[in-house]
Subunit: 367 residues, 2 copies
Amino acid sequence: MVRALNFSAGPAALPLPVLEKAQKEFVNYQGTGMSIMEMSHRGKHYDAVHSGAKARFKKLMEVPDSHEILFLQGGASLQFSMVPINFLKENETAGYILTGSWSEKALKEAERIGRTKVIASSKEGLYRSIPSRSEWSDEKGLAYLHITSNNTIYGTQWHEFPDTDVPLVADMSSDIMSRPLDIGKFGLIYAGAQKNLGPSGVTVIIANKQWLSQSTNSLSKFLDYNTHASADSLYNTPPTFAIYMLGLVLEWAEEQGGTAGLERKNKEKSALLYDSIESSEGFYSGHALKESESHMNVTFTLPDQDLEKDFLAKASEHGFIGLNGHRSIGGCRASIYNAVPYEACEKLAEFMNSYRKNHPARSFTFQ
Amino acid sequence: MVRALNFSAGPAALPLPVLEKAQKEFVNYQGTGMSIMEMSHRGKHYDAVHSGAKARFKKLMEVPDSHEILFLQGGASLQFSMVPINFLKENETAGYILTGSWSEKALKEAERIGRTKVIASSKEGLYRSIPSRSEWSDEKGLAYLHITSNNTIYGTQWHEFPDTDVPLVADMSSDIMSRPLDIGKFGLIYAGAQKNLGPSGVTVIIANKQWLSQSTNSLSKFLDYNTHASADSLYNTPPTFAIYMLGLVLEWAEEQGGTAGLERKNKEKSALLYDSIESSEGFYSGHALKESESHMNVTFTLPDQDLEKDFLAKASEHGFIGLNGHRSIGGCRASIYNAVPYEACEKLAEFMNSYRKNHPARSFTFQ
Ligand SMILES: Cc1ncc(COP(=O)(O)O)c(C=O)c1O
Ligand SMILES: Cc1ncc(COP(=O)(O)O)c(C=O)c1O
Ligand SMILES: [Mg+2]
Ligand SMILES: [Mg+2]
Ligand SMILES: [Mg+2]
Ligand SMILES: [Mg+2]
């Protein structure tokens, strides 16, 4: 089998050894005569998978004892609602920093629940950057401050997280486990698994236990984080196979040198592509400003839309998958999550360089 | 490989040919060099899987054009909240018929949202039966009437669905697709997939489109059925692999003669076990009253708890999996969903018969 050059934004590439291991034991898990997906979520085999994934995640991500780890369903999108349902009380205000489409969606859901305030936004600058601290309005007294650590669509990323006195909530869907992290800084982190952690269908939450205990929600037992925290994410039937896959991805991540090893590799990968863009004399132009460039999603455009279309078509002919930008903004985007190999990025950089060399005239006449 | 004799209540046995097919194409889906779980939910391969599963489900379940099919996350438990959030308006009352623990949980979530009324209950009779129509209080003017079509824990099942003027809502988690069904009778049906449809992680909803359009929910875009209906269950990233597996299970179900063929087989399977119980001269005693017996979950007890423990231990030694009753009520339970083979039920019936023959004395001395 020739592996595809998969740059999809999510669901995205998974590590090949993980897929091969899961394939091998897919029908007959550990000689039981059953698939792991046929087993009770309250039996001993699945229990080992469930608690194993949690323990691995805790160790790898250095989650302190002050924080709880939850495996939920509904994707990051359900978290847009669950966060304010649990933490935005009457007469309180939640702060949002807008750095892209996903932050906007998170804000919109919070607006349905209670009072909100935009603390900073880079929208006027076409979401090319992360607003610097000096541009924020005052966040004092907020119920929480919500940020999006990596902006999947625009290709920008927070490279440093702010110190703040209010609980910091981060949507880390597209860069969780891509680098070491000081979890203690956060009230709550959430991430759909389908980019860096595993298949779609499971969402990982890391939450400060003390803050959790202060949450109020009388609306729904299921939508209460405490329900899942006190049941160890087994309140109802969890997405067992997705959590099993997550566990295998975590095992693989350990072998890559953990978050420090993954960060090193991710920086090398993104450097290959940003170098191709920067050395292209304006043929490729990156969307993100230098200091806000994402190591997960590299976004760029070509001199005109016809050329962009041709570039994407030729890339597709050469076997590159998923390079089109998000349907909401167009352009090109290479998503290079943890499991995307260095070699695939090398091939893409080479392809970008050679494509540019074959189109030197057009790039200047078409302006 | 020797297949396990898997009588788990859910997650439960899947058809072996389905598992084998999924294993074969797990790493390299249709020669693409990618797993189906690595593919964008907006790309052509997954699109065929998604729309294929929906079309197959529509055909197999004879879902009329008046009804929408949704693939959501969160399990049946999230539906306990979503139903009243969408359909229980202020000044309205929702009716619930209590036939077991799951109906009680559904009711409790509705109580958080609005006014409720218990229209009938078999709780006093230890949930051994489905209340007959003559025992109901008046359901006129209700926002909807909620029932649980099969009571997974107690082992009872509705064998006929009532005609009523109010929208009928049914939790069919543990008997969906086990028999032909007149969908037109229902306002909304929901079912976690992990018993009859596939792996855990996807919940199937069938809803009357006109009723959907009357739903009101300003709380959360994600929790609004209409959000998912208008996006064809692609509003956010769906659990792609679970839906892929669901599609394969539907393909297999077609080969079993559809819902009529499955019903025939399920009745034969349950008859084997109920016969063992009935012919046991009181050694095994079934929990459900005859007319309410479930064809999906066969529940029974032994003369005393020591014997029950011994029975379960011996059964386990003989390779039978998942025969213990739900932790909330104890006893024994054989879950015999669509994918549990006739031969496995035969073996269990034989085991029950021979176990009884080896314990004739104890069964009467221990009373
Ligand atoms: C940063 C971010 N947040 C949220 C989402 C939505 O995630 P989900 O589809 O799991 O709801 C995405 C999906 O791409 C994302 O990139
Ligand atoms: C009838 C019924 N309803 C609801 C549930 C809960 O389903 P889930 O775990 O998908 O939330 C179950 C689980 O066994 C069930 O049998
Ligand atoms: Mg974005
Ligand atoms: Mg995206
Ligand atoms: Mg029950
Ligand atoms: Mg159950």
